[in-house]
C-alpha cells in the first residue's frame, strides 16, 4: 500500500508548529480517515471536529493544501500524494487547538438577524399553501450545512477581519432564505445595508467556489439581495416613485 505524508498544524493560539505524520493509504480514503488514523495511532490528542462523515453536518471544515474544504469529502486520490498534504485549521476564526477553531462568532451573528415572521395563516387550521415553484429558490439556500467554509474563504473576514461590520456569505444566504421565503413578511433590507454590511461583498465568488453543497451563493443569494437593497436605497427613480405614492 502507498504511504502518504500529512503536515498538520498543531498547537493552540499561543504556540503553533507543523508536524509530519506518515500513514498507509487504502482505497477510497478521505482526508478525515487519514486524520483519524493519525489520531488513533500517532497522536491521541490531535484535536479535530467531525460528526457525520458524509458531508451532511459541516463539522470537519479545514484548509487542505491551502483550500477550504470538508475533510470528509476530500478523497486522497484527488490530492497529489507525492508531496506532503498540508492540513490547517480555518483561518478566519481564532484557533482553539490543532484543526479546531472557535466558530462561536457565527452563532452570535445568526442571533442578530431578524427571525422568520410568517404572514397570517391561509387556512383556519393555521396552515398555508405554497407552490413548489415558489420555494425552489429558498430550498437551495436551506441546503446549507453551516460548515462556514464560505466565511473562511471570504477575504472580507479572512483578510480584512471586518467581523464586526460584515456578516459573511453564510448569513447573507441565511438572510436571503428568509427574505425570499414566500411566507415571511419581515423587512431586513435596512439591516442588510447597515449592520450586515452587504456592500462589503465585492462578488469575488470564492464563497460559491468552496461551498460543499454547491449553493450558488453569489449569484442566487447575495446579488439578488444587493439588487433589493438597490431598490430601496440607491435607485433614484424608485425613490421618487415611493415619495409620490406616499404623498397620495
Amino acid at each position: 500500500m502507498a504511504i502518504a505524508t500529512f503536515q498538520i498544524l498543531r498547537g493552540d493560539a499561543s504556540n503553533t508548529r507543523v508536524e509530519s505524520y506518515s500513514i498507509e493509504v487504502s482505497e477510497g480514503m478521505v482526508v478525515l480517515d487519514a486524520v483519524h488514523a493519525i489520531q488513533a495511532t500517532q497522536a491521541n490528542d490531535l484535536a479535530v471536529r467531525w460528526n457525520c462523515k458524509a458531508g451532511k453536518c459541516g463539522s470537519c471544515s479545514a484548509e487542505i493544501n491551502g483550500m477550504p474544504k470538508l475533510m470528509c469529502m476530500t478523497r486522497l486520490s484527488d490530492l497529489p500524494l507525492d508531496k506532503p498534504v498540508l492540513l490547517q485549521p480555518m483561518k478566519a476564526f481564532p484557533l482553539i487547538k490543532d484543526l479546531v477553531t472557535d466558530v462561536s462568532w457565527n452563532f452570535a451573528v445568526k442571533k442578530k438577524i431578524k427571525k422568520f415572521k410568517p404572514r397570517k395563516p391561509d387556512n383556519p387550521d393555521g396552515t398555508w399553501r405554497m407552490a413548489q415553484e415558489d420555494i425552489d429558490r429558498v430550498q437551495e439556500f436551506r441546503k446549507c450545512i453551516e460548515c462556514f467554509l464560505c466565511q473562511d474563504v471570504c477575504h472580507v473576514l479572512r483578510e480584512h477581519q471586518l467581523h464586526d461590520q460584515f456578516i459573511g456569505p453564510r448569513y447573507l444566504v441565511y438572510t436571503a432564505a428568509l427574505e425570499m421565503h414566500p411566507l415571511d413578511v419581515e423587512d431586513r433590507l435596512e439591516d442588510l445595508k447597515k449592520e450586515d454590511g452587504i456592500g462589503y461583498c465585492n462578488i469575488t465568488k470564492c464563497c460559491t467556489k468552496v461551498c460543499p453543497e454547491d449553493i450558488t451563493i453569489t449569484d442566487n443569494a447575495i446579488i439578488p439581495l444587493k439588487e433589493r437593497v438597490v431598490d430601496r436605497f440607491y435607485d433614484p427613480l424608485k425613490k421618487l416613485f415611493r415619495i409620490f405614492r406616499f404623498k397620495k
Partner: protein, 603 residues
C-alpha cells in the same frame, strides 16, 4: 481541588438534536429558564443525517390516512411490544408537530395544490412522510435551531455530561466538562431532559457519528433509572459498504420509496421470495404492482423492498451468507433501472435523491443514475433505552425526563422509517412541557458536594497513569466484538462470549492512558465515553440473552421463531444496590379496548 463553572437552570436539556431542541423550545415557552447542552456544535447533531422524512398522518396525498392507520402501522412494525399509549399519542400529535415546523419557517416539498408532500416508506400503509428531498433531518434541525436561538435558551456547545447529580431520590443537576479548555461544569437544575440519542458507536459498521456512545442511557442507568427493550437495536438494511472508509454511511430508504430495487449478484430480486405472514396482505406479489405503488397508484400494494427494516436487513444478510452477495459483501440497490419506466429518469433521480447522488458520486465514484449501488446493513437506531411514562416522558427517577432515541417505548421491537423524526418532535415537546411543569412544582433541589468531588476525580483519573492502553484501541476492539457477537444474527453461545469480552474490556478501560492535557483532547473524551459504551453494550447483550425468540430487530439463530409467550413482556434493566446490572421481565399492560379494536380492524 478542581474548580467548576456553575450554572443554574429551571430545566436542563442534555442533547441538542431534534428531541433536545424541541424540548428546550417547549420548556422555554412555558416561561422557565433553560440550559441546552450540545456534545458538538449546535445544529450538528445526528438529526441532520435523517433523510427520508417525518411520518405524520396529514393525509395530504392519500385521504384514507389518519392517526388510527398510523397507530396500527407503528404497532405492527414494533410487533406489539410497543408502549401503546406512546404509539397513540405519537400518531395523534405528529401532524400538529409537523405543521408547527412550517410556522417556524420549514419548507417541505409541496403537492401540486400547495400542501406538504408525503412519500412512501417501509411499513407505512399510505404515503405519509413529509420530506425535503433527502435532507429532511437538516431542514428539521435548522428550523428548530433558528427558532430556538431567539427564545433566550442558553446553549453550551461542545460540552459533555459525565454524570448526573442526585439530591436524595430525585435528580438535581449534572456534571460535565467543556471541550475547549477541559474545564468542569456543574449544572444545577430541578428537571433534566435527556435527549442524547443512540449508541451506534458500539459497533464497527454504523451510520452514527462519534457522539453516539449511549450517554443518556448510561447516565440514567447509573443514576438508578430503568432501561427497557435494550435487545432491540435496528440495523438499517442499506448502508454504504465500499470503499471501506465509507462503510456504514446511510443510504436512505427513500431510494426504495422512489422505486429502487434490491438485487443479488445473479440479478434476482430476492425480496419477493420471503414475505412475512404479518404483511402478506399488504405486499405486492409481482414487480409491476410494486412499481405502480411507488408511483402513487393507490390500488397497488407495496413492493417487498419496502417491508420493515428488520426484515429487509435479515434478507440481505441471508443472501450474503448464501454466497449470492455483491463483490464487497453486500447486495445491489438499483434505482437506475427506472429509466426503463419513465422518461428523464436521471434528472428525476437527481431531483428526488440529490444527496444520495452526491454522496455516491463523491465518495464512491458511482453514478446512481446509471449503475446500482452496493449496500449492506449498518447499525442505525436503538429502539430500547430509558423507560419513560408515556404522557410525561419522565423516567423512573423524579425530575429526570428522556425523549427521542435515548428514550424507549414507542417503537417496540422495530422502528418504522420516518417514525423517528416525528418521535423527536412529539415526545421532545412533551418532555419539555412536563419538565418545565415539574421544575415549577418541585423547587429547592440541592447538590451533594461529595458526589461532585467524586465525579471530578473519576473524570481526571486517566491522566494519573503513566502506563496504559490507548482509549481508541479499546473502543475499536469493543466495536469489532459487538459487531461480531451481538450483531444482526445472534446466538446464545456468542452472546455469553460477548459478556466475557465485556468484562475484559471493562478492566482494560479502567487502565487507559491519556496523552496530552485537558484542552480539546479527543483521547480523553474517548476514554470517558468508553464507560457509557461499555454500560450500554452490556445492557444490550444481557437483554439479548434473555429474549429467547426472534422478533423485530432481535434475531436469534437458536430461536428463529416468534414466541407467543415472549410477546407478553418487555425486558427491564436496573442497577441493583450492589451496583450490578439486573434484568427482569415486565408484563405488557393490556391494550386499551378501543386501541385493540383499531389493531384488529387494520390487521
Amino acid at each position: 481541588m478542581p474548580s467548576y463553572d456553575t450554572h443554574n437552570y429551571d430545566v436542563l436539556v442534555i442533547g441538542a438534536g431534534g428531541a433536545g431542541l424541541r424540548a428546550a423550545i417547549e420548556a422555554s415557552a412555558a416561561g422557565v429558564s433553560v440550559g441546552l447542552i450540545c456534545k458538538s456544535l449546535l445544529g450538528k447533531a445526528h438529526t441532520v443525517m435523517a433523510e427520508g422524512g417525518i411520518a405524520a398522518a396529514l393525509a395530504n396525498v392519500d385521504e384514507r390516512d389518519n392517526w388510527k392507520v398510523h397507530f396500527a402501522d407503528t404497532m405492527r412494525g414494533g410487533q406489539y411490544l410497543n408502549n401503546w399509549r406512546m404509539a397513540e399519542l405519537h400518531a395523534k400529535e405528529a401532524p400538529d408537530r409537523v405543521k408547527e415546523l412550517e410556522a417556524w419557517g420549514a419548507l417541505f416539498d409541496r403537492t401540486k395544490d400547495g400542501l406538504i408532500l408525503q412519500r412512501n416508506f417501509g411499513g407505512h400503509k399510505y404515503p405519509r412522510l413529509a420530506h425535503v428531498g433527502d435532507r429532511t433531518g437538516l431542514e428539521m434541525i435548522r428550523t428548530l435551531q433558528d427558532h430556538g436561538i431567539h427564545l433566550g435558551i442558553e446553549v453550551h456547545m461542545e460540552c459533555t455530561i459525565t454524570s448526573l447529580l442526585m439530591g436524595g431520590d430525585r435528580v438535581t443537576g449534572a456534571f460535565g466538562y467543556e471541550r475547549e479548555k477541559g474545564r468542569f461544569k456543574i449544572f444545577k437544575s430541578n428537571a433534566i431532559v435527556l435527549a442524547t440519542g443512540g449508541v451506534g458507536r458500539a459497533y464497527k459498521i454504523t451510520s452514527n457519528s462519534w457522539e453516539y456512545t449511549g450517554d443518556g442511557m448510561s447516565l440514567a442507568y447509573h443514576a438508578g433509572a430503568e432501561l427497557i427493550d435494550m435487545e432491540f437495536l435496528q440495523f438499517h438494511p442499506t448502508g454504504m459498504i465500499w470503499p471501506p472508509s465509507v462503510q456504514g454511511i446511510l443510504v436512505t430508504e427513500g431510494v426504495r420509496g422512489e422505486g429502487g430495487i434490491l438485487l443479488n449478484k445473479n440479478g434476482e430480486r430476492f425480496m419477493f421470495s420471503d414475505i412475512p405472514e404479518l404483511y402478506r396482505n399488504q405486499t405486492a406479489d409481482n414487480e409491476e404492482e410494486g412499481w405502480r405503488y411507488t408511483q402513487g397508484d393507490r390500488n397497488a400494494r407495496r413492493p417487498p423492498e419496502l417491508l420493515t427494516r428488520d426484515h429487509v436487513a435479515r434478507c440481505i444478510v441471508r443472501q450474503i451468507k448464501e454466497g449470492k452477495g455483491s463483490p464487497h459483501n453486500g447486495v445491489f440497490l438499483d434505482i437506475s433501472w427506472i429509466k426503463n419506466k419513465i422518461p428523464h429518469a436521471a434528472e428525476h433521480i437527481k431531483k428526488k435523491l440529490p444527496s444520495m447522488y452526491h454522496q455516491f458520486k463523491k465518495l464512491a465514484d458511482i453514478d446512481i443514475t446509471v449503475e446500482p449501488m452496493e449496500v449492506g446493513p449498518t447499525t442505525h437506531y436503538m429502539m430500547g433505552g430509558i423507560r419513560v411514562d408515556a404522557d410525561t416522558q419522565m423516567s423512573t427517577i423524579p425530575g429526570l425526563f428522556a425523549a427521542g432515541e435515548c428514550a424507549a417505548g414507542l417503537h417496540g421491537s422495530n422502528r418504522l422509517g420516518g417514525n423517528s423524526l416525528s418521535d423527536l418532535l412529539v415526545f421532545g415537546k412533551r418532555a419539555g412541557e412536563y419538565a418545565a411543569k415539574f421544575s415549577k412544582e418541585n423547587k429547592g433541589g440541592h447538590l451533594n458536594e461529595e458526589e461532585i468531588a467524586n465525579a471530578a476525580i473519576n473524570a481526571l483519573e486517566p491522566f494519573e497513569r503513566n502506563e496504559g492502553e490507548s482509549p481508541f484501541q479499546i473502543q475499536y476492539d469493543l466495536q469489532e466484538m459487538m459487531q461480531e457477537l451481538v450483531g444482526i444474527v445472534r446466538h446464545e453461545e456468542e452472546l455469553w462470549r460477548a459478556v466475557e469480552h465485556l468484562k475484559m474490556l471493562h478492566d482494560r478501560a479502567a487502565r487507559v492512558k491519556i496523552v496530552g492535557n485537558r484542552e480539546y483532547n479527543p483521547g480523553w473524551h474517548t476514554a470517558l465515553d468508553l464507560q457509557h459504551l461499555l454500560t450500554v453494550s452490556e445492557a444490550i447483550t444481557i437483554a439479548a440473552i434473555e429474549r429467547k425468540e426472534s422478533r423485530g430487530a432481535h434475531f436469534r439463530e437458536d430461536y428463529p421463531q416468534k414466541d407467543e409467550q415472549s410477546g407478553k413482556f418487555n425486558l427491564v434493566i436496573k442497577k441493583n444496590a450492589d451496583g450490578e446490572m439486573k434484568l427482569r421481565r415486565e408484563p405488557i399492560k393490556e391494550v386499551r379496548t378501543d386501541l385493540q379494536q383499531i389493531i384488529e380492524e387494520m390487521k
